[in-house]
Symmetry: C2
Subunit: 308 residues, 2 copies
């Protein structure tokens, strides 16, 4: 069964691949290389790359135009999560022969719609033939105050944007709301809000929720050397707690901010018509807890068994 | 039979894909978007992307380490051809399961060697599983005086670096020189020389020779709105004229410069230990001629028949 597009470490095999790369390639001089949502380059540039493979990251539930949109969305989401603004992109498109021109035209259409919505210019790329459709997108942008995953401090408060679990509902349930389905097909990450938050100096740490709060919050806390307490009933979701934290593809922002910034954060959120919810606190103990509950097992876990 | 890695327009199908993209996506404000070796971004940044697919762009004649080296080389070649200096890269690696760790380790090793040779830092990327090995690399760099394909003017002289046809010999002949085989496996594009040439303001137009002089010179002339006369016996090659102009993967530079710059060009070439040859002239008539000969038919043409 195809997996939906998700970033980060897919499984043990991917973790090994990433660690092997980390060992072989020296870190960028800025010290911000492999491992955050996007890489910060000199002179305020930021860059990210995400790939979608047919049959692995999408199936027939996504139209070709949805695939184009989503590929753009997952990438700009990473730029926004650094506090950056996306500007340009390069696309590598591998396509089987005979060429399905309808598919390519519709895919480009969805990609162009998303690029127009997020202010991204396609500046180049490469087209190759191959045994399956593989689309790799690099998105670059600018950032004045990069926000890493590693800046959370004990006492900070934990916030999320939007609603969690919509893609989980769309992917896992036989029926779901039109809104959940729309988000699964065409997520709209709050990129401009992320950039504005960062430019206002509000978040101490930030990342996007691509693998679910359970996995992603553990990563943020590990990078920051701290722990967190999450209040499950504060999580903004119309679904189950498991759907809200243990699936992913939310493409919402998870960020930490000093206590007492509620007014500044909420007024910025209002300006950008972005919902924000305070869902917990950061603490010194390295334990990451969901108050009163165990963290649900990943709803992807039964697809993940691979002999790697 | 697998094709070797080459960039540019592969065939009619790829030309259609590129034209469709060009029609749908607005050009960068700088006016330099899809179509040159690399895209010039604001603030002196330059970016390129090239993809290699197993069974299409390489076969068992390349070791995994060669594939890694070559993927880096084809990309930095594009940066050098703009007069830029490569700085950073992001890698998208699609791998079948079960994971072949030996392959991945060796591939990374070759990539890291090339990155070290060319001063490139790997800053991020994505690893996914998929039905075949697909490696897409984005390389970014800096450029102070970008050199496009479009600046050649009648009266300019036509130059190439290095030796042409080595990859053709390695790919097509049952036996070839060790040097040809080494270049085919681990091409060493003259990137620093290209950047130095550009910084000295010498080339009026420049590109790298990835599809062979016959195809690439036609592109440079079309972009510049001019034609050219090439002296076949001036072409630096130990092989046939067809191998020198009609195969590709030379990853040498093709550039034009005003007449009378021989001393400046040759002294820079000497400094960078790069061979340069003057091979023809640019003229106003749009015809691109090989003096006394017909342009040989592409040595790839019989692999290119696809029902796209």
């Amino acid at each position: 069964m195809p997996r939906s597009p998700r970033r980060g470490v897919e499984n043990e095999g991917e973790a090994w691949v990433v660690e092997t790369a980390r060992a072989l390639f020296p870190l960028e001089t800025s010290g911000v290389g492999i491992g955050d949502d996007a890489a910060v380059l000199p002179l305020g540039n930021v860059v990210t790359m995400d790939t979608m493979v047919e049959g692995v990251h999408w199936d027939a539930r996504l139209s070709p135009a949805d695939v184009g949109w989503k590929l753009a969305a997952v990438n700009v989401s990473d730029i926004g999560a650094m506090g950056g603004r996306p500007r340009w992109a390069t696309l590598s498109l591998t396509l089987p022969r005979p060429l399905d021109r309808d598919w390519v035209g519709a895919f480009y259409g969805g990609l162009a719609e998303a690029f127009a919505a997020y202010g991204v210019a396609l500046v180049g790329g490469d087209t190759t033939r191959g045994p399956a459709r593989v689309a790799a997108l690099t998105v670059g942008g600018t950032v004045s105050r990069p926000v890493l995953r590693s800046g959370a401090r004990p006492g900070d408060e934990l916030w999320v944007t939007g609603e969690l679990g919509r893609s989980a509902q769309a992917f896992l349930r036989s029926e779901c709301s039109a809104e959940a389905l729309a988000w699964f097909r065409r997520p709209r990450p709050p990129v401009a809000f992320g950039a504005a938050l960062a430019e206002a100096g509000l978040p101490t740490a930030m990342m996007d929720l691509s693998d679910g709060l359970a996995a992603d919050l553990h990563r943020l806390c590990a990078a920051s050397g701290c722990g967190a307490l999450v209040e499950p009933y504060a999580l903004p979701t119309t679904g189950t707690i498991a759907e809200a934290v243990a699936f992913g593809e939310d493409f919402e922002l998870l960020f930490t901010a000093a206590a007492g910034e509620d007014v500044a954060i909420c007024s910025l959120a209002e300006k950008f018509e972005t919902r924000v919810s305070k869902v917990g606190i950061v603490r010194g103990s390295p334990v990451v807890s969901l108050i009163g509950l165990e963290w649900p097992r990943s709803l992807f876990s039964h697809f993940e068994r691979e002999s790697s």
